[in-house]
Each structure stands twice: as structure tokens, then as C-alpha cells.
Amino acid sequence: MLSTIDDATLTKVAGALGEEEAVKLIEMLKNSEELTDDEIANKTGIRLNNVRKILYKLYDHSLVSLRRTRDPKTGWFIFHWKLQPDQLEGFILSQKRRVFEKLNIRLEYEKNHDFYYCYTPGCKRIPFEEAVELVFKCPTCGKPLMHYNNEKIIQTLTQKIETLRKELSE
């Protein structure tokens, strides 16, 4: 199947997996038909246990597929890994839907609550209901709590959600 994802997006997805090594690994798989974890470790210089960790992570999201054979000498299984770029679009879509859902929940929360804050680095915002119970005193530093304007957060969230809504409806 033809993939609608370009190499740059593929690399970005690998980066989003949280590891620089994932980018290296994907680069390697991209240029080969099929590779074993040993081969990947040798070619990239990534430690074998890390190679496996990343591969399983990619496998969880169906971004790679595997084929299992048995070593005739040792009887052990050999795993042959292959990149599945055609699954990337689905992966990106599902991630976007998930983020969209979370941001919507957060937006509702931000809209429906008034926040109070002591403006001390490291302390937390407190919703009005809790602030009343605390007699408007920060439970961490003891300073008085003052109203916190979350208008900018609401604006940013609204913009992000709108962007995602458009992208998801394309």
C-alpha cells in the first residue's frame, strides 16, 4: 500500500516516541526491507535491550510488524522487524483524537472554574471551592490567595482544539 506520510513526518513521530534512539532505529528500518533486533543493534550502535524496548513500543502502536523464525542451531526464536509506514496515518489520527478529547476536558474545566493563586513559584493554582475552604490561604506557603486570570489558557486551548477539529475533519 502506498503511504501518504513523508519521511520528515516519520522522523517526527519517532521523535515523539520520546527517544532519540527511536529516530535512529526508524531511519535504519526505513532503508531496509526487514531486520532482526541484533542487526539493528549492530548497525545503529544502540544497546540491544534498548532496541527491543523501542521495537516493542513501536509494535504496540502497529508501526512495525514482526515475523518469527527459529534458529536451527540454537532453537531460539529470531524476530524479523519491518516498518509499516501505511499504519502511520492511522496512528497520527488516533493520537490527535486522544489529544483533542483531553484538551476538550481541560477547556471545560478551565471555563467552569475560577482559580486562585499565591503567585509563589512552585505553588499551585486552587479552584474557588477549595480556596474558600482554605480561607484563601495557600496550603503550601501560607501566603494569601489572589484571583488568577486563566483567560489566556482558555484562548490557547480554544485555538488548539479548533486546529485539531479542522485537521480531524479533513
Binding site: 502506498l2 503511504s3 501518504t4 506520510i5 513523508d6 513526518t9 517526527k12 513521530v13 521523535g15 515523539a16 516516541l17 520520546g18 502511520l88 496515518e89 497520527i92 489520527l93 493520537q95 490527535k96 486522544r98 489529544v99 483531553k102 484538551l103 476536558i105 481541560r106 474545566y109 493563586y117 503567585y119 509563589t120 513559584p121 512552585g122 505553588c123 499551585k124 493554582r125 486552587i126 479552584p127 477549595e130 488568577y148 489566556k152 489558557i153 484562548q155 490557547t156 486551548l157 488548539k160 486546529t163 485539531l164 485537521e167 479533513e170
Partner: protein, 125 residues
């Protein structure tokens, strides 16, 4: 000589990257380094697969086709930096779960960062 499927993939990428402007069929085969015959065959194949649409247009007194992608390339840019993406807490995260999008500190930090808020040390209760 590249495999036919490789050329198709390359052609699809080129067409998708043109976005809503599309490109003429002749431009495609030039960019692919293929012959006009190959270029038009690939364009036809992609159309048959439902990946692009071809529209007839008159150019320099000659009829040619302009190729448009049916879908724009999926991009991860809008969520790439969002902590919810690939969050390890994701299975536990729900409005009433142990981790919630309402009070997630990682999400708050990210929101403040992209908001450009001066008060970057803010957390959430």
C-alpha cells in the same frame, strides 16, 4: 531503474506536498525524472487508487492534466509537543481517574509554555 511502486510513492509525495495548488502532469514527470509516458501512467494509477484527482486544463494551447491530492499529508506538528501524546500515564488518565486532564501538571506546563504566560512556575491543585 527504480521500482514502479517506488516511483508511485515518490509521485504521491510530490503531489501531496503541492497541497491545494496541485501540479501539472508534465511537471510531475519532470520532477520524477521519468518519461512522459511513465508519468501519465503513474498519475492514472494513483487516480484509480483514489489517491489523487486529475483535472483537464489548457496550458500553452495544449491540453494537459493538473493533479491534485485527494487528501493532504497527515502531519503531527499540531500535537508533536503536547505531553498527552505518548503520555505514559495515558491508560490511567480520565476525567475521574488517578490522573486527570483537568489537573495534569505536564499539561499545565505545556499550556503555559505555548501561551507565553509570564508565570511559568504555576502548577495545579
Amino acid at each position: 531503474m527504480p521500482k514502479h511502486n517506488d516511483l508511485e510513492q515518490k509521485a504521491l509525495q510530490i503531489i501531496m506536498n503541492t497541497g491545494n495548488d496541485g501540479l501539472s502532469q508534465s511537471e510531475l514527470w519532470r520532477r520524477l525524472g521519468a518519461s512522459s509516458r511513465e508519468g501519465s501512467r503513474i498519475a492514472l494509477k494513483l487516480e484509480n487508487k483514489g489517491l489523487i484527482r486529475r483535472e483537464k486544463e489548457l496550458r500553452d494551447g495544449r491540453w494537459t492534466y493538473r493533479l491534485y491530492p485527494k487528501r493532504l499529508p497527515a502531519s503531527i506538528d499540531s500535537i508533536a509537543d503536547c505531553p498527552c501524546m505518548m503520555c505514559p500515564e495515558s491508560p490511567r488518565c480520565s476525567p475521574t481517574g488517578a490522573v486527570t486532564p483537568q489537573n495534569c501538571e505536564k499539561l499545565t506546563d505545556w499550556l503555559l509554555r505555548i501561551t507565553g504566560n509570564e508565570c511559568k512556575v504555576l502548577g495545579d491543585s
